[in-house]
């Protein structure tokens, strides 16, 4: 470890290529916190956006016109507005309208903090797309298959869970993968409300050490790696879920 740090210190002094996160403990800590924040923020948002998508797609096929209408409004609202605007709207406008709570210091603080709003905002944003993605998958399941399930005595929910969803999921996995990759990249917007994710950490470092070029390269490579891991996982999942003879 010391050898590596010495190498980067030498690189900074001799060649002015200053990868300060490799030798400065404070910068490294900031960067690692940023990396971790991005990873768990992405993970939580991926999970909850899929959940939002599943519920939305199910309600979309509901008999109640009110439920279908509500899903439509939700999808239109979150799909047609920029995520950065949504984030600012939640953090600066909605937050102030909610009742405050008391923190451990006895001060009154907003109910949901910046990290909380980032999760809410990104989950709903990606969730709105997921609703449409799952809907496309559900509509690709042949009507005859659903009727067969119903004639076997499945309720609507049971048919959805055991027949429609498993088939639909396989159809829409590639589109879902695209949306989730976008979601991981969208988490950088949380920088605007001070969530300490990767972009925030990198900008903290470069505004003090003035190594913009180096940190930009590090940042881009880190995202390439993060997304590569996600894509790899999705591909393995796709392969594991393949049904022989059922090509989607």
């Amino acid at each position: 470890m010391d050898g590596t740090a010495d190498f980067f210190r030498w690189l900074a002094e001799a060649h002015r290529i200053d990868v300060s996160i490799a030798y400065d403990p404070l910068d490294r800590k900031r960067f690692l916190i940023g990396l971790w924040t991005t990873i768990w923020l992405s993970g939580v948002c991926i999970g909850s956006s899929i959940l939002v998508g599943l519920i939305g797609a199910w309600l979309h096929g509901a008999r109640s016109a009110a439920a279908r209408g509500a899903v439509q409004v939700f999808v239109q609202f979150f799909r047609n507005t920029p995520p950065l605007v949504q984030l600012a709207f939640f953090y600066f406008a909605v937050s102030a309208a909610l009742p405050p709570v008391t923190d451990r210091f006895g001060a009154s603080v907003p109910l949901i903090d910046n990290v909380g709003w980032a999760i809410v905002s990104f989950s709903l944003f990606a969730g709105a797309f997921n609703v449409e993605i799952f809907r496309s998958g559900i509509e690709a399941v042949p009507r005859a298959t659903v009727e067969a399930a119903e004639s076997l005595g499945y309720t609507r929910l049971a048919a959805y869970r055991h027949v429609v969803l498993p088939l639909a999921f396989r159809v829409c996995l590639p589109a879902l993968g695209n949306n989730l990759v976008n979601l991981v990249k969208t988490t950088t917007l949380a920088y605007a409300i001070g969530v300490p994710e990767l972009l925030y950490a990198a900008s903290q470092v470069w505004s003090e050490v003035f190594n913009v070029r180096e940190m930009m390269v590090v940042l881009l490579l880190t995202y390439v790696a993060l997304v590569a891991v996600l894509v790899h996982g999705l591909r393995r999942w796709e392969r594991a879920m393949r049904i022989p003879g059922y090509s989607a």
Partner: protein, 273 residues
Amino acid sequence: MKFGIRLVLGALIAVVGTFGAAAQDTIAKIKQRGTIVVGVKNDYKPWGFLDPSGKIVGMEIELAEDVAKKLGVKLEMIPVIAANRMEFLNQGRIDLVIATMGDTAERRKVVGMVEPNYYAGATNVLAPKSANLKKWEDLKGRKVCAVQGAYYNRRVGQLYQPDLVVFPAVPDALNALQGGNCIAFLFDDTLIGSTLAGGDPKWANYEMPLASEDPQLWAIGVRLTDLDAPFGKLMKEMSVDWHKSGRLLALEKKWGIKTSPYLEEANKKHRGS
């Protein structure tokens, strides 16, 4: 939108690199162009801010106008933030930085700081009276808003361990403070002082509760290659002149800033010499 532009600019900085400084004499280049391009703040009242018509005005803007007048050229202003002003200068996108820039040893490696320094500030926080802050140590573990690229973030962060929430620009951080998202806003005492003195009812229940720390000189920035060239020398002369003639003290008064001991002292010193 504002954030977006900054992100794009940030990316451009990385792509273009920082070796844009030309060997050609800067004064000749400015005269040939007919304009001097100055990086200024537009979110730092009353040093550089937007008036209701959208024009950038303020104390530093008048200094930039003085420089343009002296060179007999037109003035073009480019709004900068703490995190990009030095890169803009070194790329050649701007000729001069007059943007509340603190003069630190670390920054001196990257840009030329014009002496004598034209202003001085120190670090303090803006907090609601109800927060009841008494000393710097009270900030430990609390959420404190700050602005990206400010030199004191690192020092205060290490010394008092607040949970810093750093925003791209001053208005965002102030909004977050007003929304109760942080207990205090870490900033320059000069800006906090003028915000509180501005009489805006929005800040009626706020105060600057701590003792200002870490006094810091502000400097006009030129490229390192210009510092000892005619352009840097001219800026040094102008700076001496601003102190000697009382121009800075007059501007401070005009923009409603409390007279700073630093300027009074510098005025006496330069008049005496």
